[in-house]
């Protein structure tokens, strides 16, 4: 079997031109299914006799549960069961916590026990014969509450005397860590200027159009729970669930239906629903289904980390930033379900795209009476990227320089690539200057600066903003050991299986969970490439199944890992299979393996033109097995697990580790006009230049980048989870939690420049998470537009209402 190192050198060509199937915008075959209404999403899965579950939710932000009376609820015809936190507590363990004690002592159950800690927290789960009755019944659960003081601000939560959410922890600190990289103190001391400011990122949510859902059945004959869910990392969630339910993972089958209606990080911490529904299906010995309604999805379906930074930058007279010193506090809501991972994940992008080696970060996370946080597209990096982009503008203001110039001065140079950041991240190539200059051309930066001058004379408010994101992908789980050295995960892996069935069709499987990233076509292209055959000869198995499909424990589509991880695993598996196919063909044709090549669903001799179709080879391998070479194992199945080397695989005592395998990047530029009377903001121009590395399917990559751009625009101008002082979420449905529609999305001028990733086998980088790109450019642009009014912005979310109030406060 070939060694991996050889493969990298021999088999991964340097340029697109070398490929036949990879690198071309192949139309996405699996699009045809949902296009005709034939997709199968979770709620479309039907099992006869299914019961439906609905939650009773907390009306309070923080309250003691004094009593739960389920009698009225149980009287309603059609109601089968009411589950409360008390019962769960008696029958399951609290979820594993990533953080070590004391915050690791936190007791987290899927239903509130003793008290509720955020608005919309599930308090009881009611099972009834249909969804309508379940919703009726959920309203009849009579809960007596005693309201408690509420804390919604993370910095307040860490103050002495603040209401404490979790008594078993004793205070609201989830985790605190200090990174002292290079010598930031010295840099500040020696700086010509210290530029200081506070930057705040707001709370918003992933809100995929399909909400989360679960359908669980219990099969008594094999004592197994089968769960259909939309969880993005099913095999990672499994031990969390099974650990809590005290059952072996092998008795818990995880299935994802062929179609998942988007995720964007928002389908990871839904393991709470899976636990409850699985528990009920076993208890009631019946299939039970639950689908979040939109309000539930918005209230508790994953909020992103709300972060406040207090930053000091060391700046030289010429605009060069030499160091950064900051205190950051995350508001991670009532339960740190994936946190405090976010407290280290930002470290994937410590200096952003800038060459700054002296960085000091004091990072804390606090629990508050808001919904739980978790990964949301650009998880924890967008906050950090946003901070850099705001601070670069502050430097420009301080030195009275053009913000574009300040950035150019500080960009990491192409010749520094691969660039080792202060926390030992290894940026895997790229040309930031070229991307940046391309962006300036794309948005006609110079021309707009001129137009802006003219506009200001006429009282018009036009502004130009720039920002960049590092879109790190394929994470190294070892970074979590910074938080807890005993956390049992490190590195990364994904699995690929390629086989040829009895009729000669190539079949590919991997453990990633497609939520709209066109895996079948993309991965089909990789297998096609190896076998030099059209994608019509490749079948990719959609959907995930822990029994019948392949998986690795980290399997899933998250952290922009699918192309890099699963793509590579499949590439290896395909090459291994091809070796075997060639061996069989050589034996059958009586030729040398080196004279043979795979081509158009066959093996062809370059010497004699003899041809053996894959179907014939399959017959030999599977059926007519006595004709195989001596000692050869029958069958045509190849399996590969790809575990990349991150170079710095484990964190050192300074918390330095290479967190991620690839680091794609995108530069965004926005021109906005602010109406001087209504303060409405209109995007006049938005440009993006990104470097996704080699694109297996440019159509798919551009689609991902466009989607990420939409999310950023929507987050900056619309989406905002606002709580009142009592902890009531005021934006709990699409009437008030506003997401961008077709009218809000401007035309996007999108360009890619491609440099190969120096760390991934295929030269690809993970993409699609750069959701934060437009946030920085929009906020910078709006502040630039408002410069004549002297308005300074603080947050990553803007509303005309807020601008008006700032303008009229003075």
């Amino acid at each position: 079997m070939p060694q991996k190192a050889e493969l990298v050198v021999e088999k991964a060509p340097e340029t697109t031109a070398a490929f036949k199937y990879m690198g071309t915008p192949v139309k996405v075959a699996e699009d045809l299914i949902p296009l005709q209404g034939k997709g199968q999403y979770l709620d479309d899965v039907e099992i006869p006799g299914t019961l439906y579950m609905a939650y009773t939710l907390s009306p309070y932000g923080h309250a003691k549960i004094k009593k739960i009376d389920t009698s009225k609820c149980l009287e309603l015809p059609g109601v089968h069961y009411v589950l409360t936190g008390e019962e769960l507590k008696a029958n399951m363990d609290p979820y594993m916590q990533i953080a070590p004690p004391p915050s690791g002592n936190l007791k987290d159950y899927p239903l509130a026990v003793d008290k509720v800690r955020y608005y919309g927290e599930p308090v009881a789960a009611v099972v009834a014969s249909n969804a309508y009755i379940a919703e009726d019944a959920a309203e009849l659960v009579d809960v007596e509450y005693e309201p408690l003081p509420v804390v919604t601000d993370a910095e307040d939560a860490l103050k002495e005397g603040s209401p404490v959410l979790h008594d078993s922890v004793g205070n609201n600190l989830v985790w605190r860590g200090v990174w002292d990289l290079g010598d930031a103190e010295k840099a500040l001391k020696e700086a010509d200027y210290v530029v200081e400011d506070t930057v705040k990122t707001h709370r918003y949510a992933a809100v995929p159009l399909e909400t989360s859902g679960v359908l669980a059945t219990y099969d008594q004959s094999v004592d197994t729970i089968t769960v259909y869910s939309v969880n993005q990392m099913p095999m990672f969630s499994l031990p969390i669930i099974c650990g809590a339910l005290r059952m072996p993972p092998s008795k818990f089958r995880m299935i994802l239906p062929p179609n998942v209606g988007g995720a964007f990080g928002g389908k990871i911490i839904n393991f709470t629903h899976i636990t409850v529904v699985a528990y009920l299906s076993k208890l009631l010995k019946a299939p039970v289904k639950y689908v979040e309604n939109r309000s539930e999805n918005i209230m508790s379906g994953t909020h992103n980390n709300e972060r406040i930074f207090h930053v000091k930058l060391a700046v030289r007279k010429d605009g060069r930033v030499t160091g950064a010193y900051m205190k950051a506090v995350d508001n991670c809501g009532a339960y740190p379900r994936y946190e405090p991972a976010g407290a280290v994940i930002w470290a994937q992008v410590v200096p952003g795209i800038y060459d700054v080696q002296n960085v000091y970060v004091d990072f804390s996370q606090a629990t508050t009476n808001k919904g739980p946080t978790g990964p949301v597209r650009g998880y924890s990096r967008i906050q950090h990227n946003f901070m850099w982009e705001r601070m670069m503008n502050r430097v420009a203001q301080k030195l009275n320089m053009d913000p574009a110039e300040v950035r150019r001065l500080n960009l990491i140079k192409a010749e520094q690539m691969p660039y080792e950041g202060p926390s030992r991240t290894i940026y895997d190539g790229g040309d930031y200057h070229k991307a940046f200059d391309t962006l300036l051309d794309t948005i006609e930066y110079g021309k707009w600066r001129e137009k802006q001058k003219e506009a200001r004379k006429q009282g018009k408010l036009i502004g130009i903003g720039l920002s960049a994101v590092i879109d790190s992908g394929a994470n190294n789980f070892a970074q979590v050991k910074i938080i807890n050295p005993h956390f049992p995960a490190s590195g990364s892996m994904e699995v690929g299986l390629v086989m040829i069935d009895q009729f000669g069709t190539l079949v590919a499987r991997t453990g990633t969970t497609d939520q709209g990233q066109s895996h079948a076509t993309t991965f089909g292209q990789i297998v096609s490439e190896v076998f030099n055959t059209g994608p019509e000869n490749v079948v990719f198995q959609q959907g995930f199944d822990s029994i019948s499909n392949v998986w690795a424990a980290f399997s899933g589509a998250y952290a922009s890992r699918s192309a890099v991880m699963a793509g590579t695993a499949l590439y290896y598996a395909a090459i291994r299979l091809k070796e075997k196919v060639l061996t069989i063909a050589a034996h059958a044709l009586g030729e040398l393996e080196s004279d043979l090549e795979a081509k158009d669903a066959a093996v062809v001799s370059m010497k004699t033109d003899k041809k053996l179709p894959l179907g014939d080879i399959a017959t030999l391998a599977w059926l007519d097995v006595n004709k195989l070479p001596e000692d050869m194992e029958p069958g045509l199945v190849s399996y590969a697990v790809y575990k990349p080397d991150f170079t710095y695989n484990m964190p050192d005592e300074k918390k330095r580790v290479n967190n991620t395998l690839t680091y794609s990047y995108a530069i965004h530029g926005t021109v906005v006009e602010v109406d001087p009377e209504t303060y409405e903001m209109k995007i006049l121009k938005h440009g993006v230049v990104s470097d996704p590395g080699f694109m297996i399917n440019p159509l798919v990559v551009e689609g991902q980048e466009m989607g990420a751009t939409l999310h950023g625009i929507s987050a900056a101008l619309m989406e905002n989870l606002e709580y009142d002082e009592d902890g009531i979420l005021l934006t709990s449905n699409f009437w008030d939690y506003l997401v961008a529609g077709a009218k809000h999305m401007p035309d996007i001028d999108m360009k890619t420049i491609v440099t190969r990733s120096t760390s991934s086998v295929l030269g690809v980088r993970g993409v699609g998470e750069g959701g934060g790109g437009p946030i920085g450019s929009i906020v910078n642009a709006v502040e630039d537009a408002l410069q004549p009014l002297g308005i300074k912005l603080l947050s990553s979310n803007l509303s005309a209402n807020e601008l008006y109030s700032k303008a009229n406060k003075k």
Partner: protein
Amino acid sequence: MMEGLVKVSIDINGKKYTDDVEPRLLLVDFIRDIARLKGTHIGCDTTSCGACTILIDGMSVKSCTMFAVEADGRKIQTVESLATDDKLHPLQEAFWEHHALQCGYCTPGMLMSSTFLLSRNSDPTEEEIREGIAGNICRCTGYINIIKAVKDAAGKINAGKETE
């Protein structure tokens, strides 16, 4: 008269479906659970997202904001009606061509809104397309490819008409 269960009969894609339903049964649930046509989706509670858009007597409406009883005796078209004899509707062709979907969850609603738009305006401008799909939320694509696809489909339908 006051009614408990109500007999409802609806023509969906040319086929009649009849059942006794609770008055509060939403049309979308009738389509999904009684007619068992799963292409029509639910994405919100507030008539905002448009994933459940269908045509009723040729007009696009959100089937989550109608009771099934209101559709009694009427004709409905869902996404399943668009392709005929395995031949894609020009809008479906164009959506495929332009990769105007990713997860596909919004797609049926988008297609039905676009079908209505083109039934009324055979050559919409980009602005008219944005208005036409303003009641449909897509979280994946950023809309740009959808707009291109609708424009393209309109062009192709018109070209087809001219050659007839």
